[in-house]
């Protein structure tokens, strides 16, 4: 049987999620024995023509050209998997969705007319059907390998959608909120990182996006009890997964309550 053809595509992003594939130092060469790396410009000049069996897509849609390109990628791909917060939720660049993009453009560029951009950053699934979304900013390499193994074996990937709290328990972490009063997004955030932040004595900041049954209203009460003001609550939901629906609604509830003077650490 011919090896499945793998393609890696980049849209607006930091390169970190595709780097995760190159960070599989022990698995990269065995993986190259299982799949044909057919299109991966960051790693090779060689280009094998499509169609592709599996496409990994990093990044969000922010330009008119990319709106067209994602349609071509979808048409050339049997299975399309989005990787990372940009591709699954619009990424941090979706902060433009809450602002005037013309003003953004003029803050950064003296000649804004040279720069073409859409006024919103949107996830891939807003434009084409997506077969699986792998979360994280960045994605976790073990989860990426599980997704690729599942694709090669023709089964569903075993990726949990429960909260980070489960991972803290499994790791034996003392709860940073209960024990130290540290505000933590762990209860509403999807597992996958291995509960990294609490393991480093800080609260989770939600980089894997919302878990499957999040209660953001209840968590917000706790965040306030532990000293976050409205501005902080707003910003903690409005960072790396700002445009994911659950975090979007949570931040909007605090938009009106926010007083711009109150910014504390």
């Amino acid at each position: 049987m011919a090896k499945p053809k793998l393609a890696v595509w980049k849209f607006a992003s930091c390169d970190g999620c595709q780097l995760t594939l190159l960070n599989c130092e022990d698995e990269l060469l065995p993986l190259a024995g299982q799949v044909e790396i057919a299109y991966f410009p960051e790693a090779t000049r060689a280009v094998v023509e499509g169609p592709y069996d599996v496409s990994l897509v990093e990044g969000s849609i922010t330009t008119a050209d990319d709106l067209e390109r994602i349609q071509q990628v979808r048409a050339a791909s049997r299975r399309l998997i989005t990787i990372g917060a940009c591709a699954t939720a619009g990424g941090i660049q979706a902060l433009r969705n809450f602002a005037d993009v013309e003003e953004f453009r003029s803050v950064v560029y003296a000649h804004p007319e040279y720069v073409e951009t859409l006024d919103r950053s949107t996830p891939i699934a807003a434009h084409v059907p997506v077969d699986f979304e792998l979360r994280g900013c960045p994605i976790d390499k073990h989860q990426l390998l599980e997704v690729l193994a599942a694709e090669i074996q023709g089964r569903a990937p075993r990726i949990s959608s429960h909260s980070v709290c489960f991972e803290c328990k499994r790791r034996g972490n003392v709860c940073v909120t209960v024990a130290h009063g540290t505000p933590c997004l762990g209860p509403v955030t999807q597992a996958g990182c291995g509960a990294l932040c609490p393991s480093y004595d800080r609260g989770c900041y939600g980089c894997f996006g919302p878990q499957n049954t999040p209660n953001t209203a209840s968590l917000t009460t706790r965040l306030r009890v532990h000293g976050m003001d409205e501005g902080q609550v707003l910003r903690v939901f409005r960072t790396f997964n700002a445009a994911s629906e659950v975090f979007l609604r949570a931040s909007e509830r605090h938009e009106t309550a926010r007083t711009s003077e109150e910014v504390t650490p």
Partner: protein, 437 residues
Amino acid sequence: MNHRLTDGGQVMHVDTLARVEGEGAMHIELRDGRVIDVQLRIYEPPRFYEAFLRGRAWTEPPDITARICGICPVAYQMSACWAIEHACGVTVPEAIRLMRRLLYCGEWIESHALHVYLLHAPDFLGYDGAVDLAADHPSVVETGLRLKKAGNQVMTVVGGRSIHPVNVRVGGFHRMPRTSELSALRPVLEQALEDALATLRLVSGFDFPDMEQPHEYVALRPEVGYPIEEGRVVTSSGRGFDVRDFPLHLDEYQVPHSHALHARLDGGTRGPYVVGPLARYTLNHDRLGDLARDAAREGGLAAECRNPFRSIVVRAVELVEAVSEALRILDVWTDGAAPSVPVPPRAGEGFGASEAPRGILFHRYVLDADGVIRDAQIVPPTSQNQAGVEADLRALVEGWADLDDHALQHRCEQAIRNYDPCISCATHFLDLSVDRS
């Protein structure tokens, strides 16, 4: 893509540059063997970091700006911390500086090993990429991957993870790594030192095109040691100034073909300036440790290195230095240092710079009394190197116009990779095209 024009001109164009970080293209136009135009086109979509940092709290830039680049997040975190701490009038204790340097050594090892083995070496050895290279030379690629992994392990222990580390905060770290966690790195780094020396022997045997470029070199230079996490700015024209004065010398300007701002030093009167390994080495080789200095000599490097193609040798020397330095830090580290110091906000402006693997990364923030960011400026190394890259392409095409299109195009791509351009960083960039008229 190459095509001849009806007037006898010629265009060479590469739409998607491979083995670079981010999206860019090259466009070159030739007429009667003369280069008419060279453009390094950065079409990576802009993400507007400097705009959305406005209104955020002073504590947020380390986590937010890390996302500018998955390859060098630590550089962003470090430059951001220095700038914010400077604005708030806080100096961190030596232990925190030392742990920042260790984390940064991890990033240099990971990033340089990635570039040397996966992105750059295939050019010299005649392969499309590292996977093809591995089919014929498995032990070469295995050495590179093992070295890269060692860098990632350092970042994982100190930072929590290698891409977008979670442990960095303004004022220091959330938690200091324990001696027991650090000691696990020692055997990894001892192997890495052998691998770094093997890397130097490998790359110094490559065939380098003859090329010398007169660019002004700009690098940091700290009080002691090789420049990594901090230093004042020095140049090959003999100038030296504090990081806070960088904006007085630097002027960023926009060109229509790039989403990344270009940069000039002192009005550009001395021609393009470049940052990165060649500049760092030339201005600081006296600061290398004994092992790296011996490695530089073994690699055939003189006190000054002006051939951009030899940057791969300098990266190998810097791998030796980063691994040795990480081991040295492990030797002197003792438990008990506070993980961070408080950084209360105050109104003011702060400046910070560090040596990302690709060169100086500069940050500037203006804060109000409550710590709200009112203005942010980020000048990444790839932006600063664009003019130098274009000058190299121009010199190269004029010097090698007798090469066939395919060979010339490949060499041009290689000339771009000499700078390890990080386009995701620069746009806040790469597409290659040659037009022969």
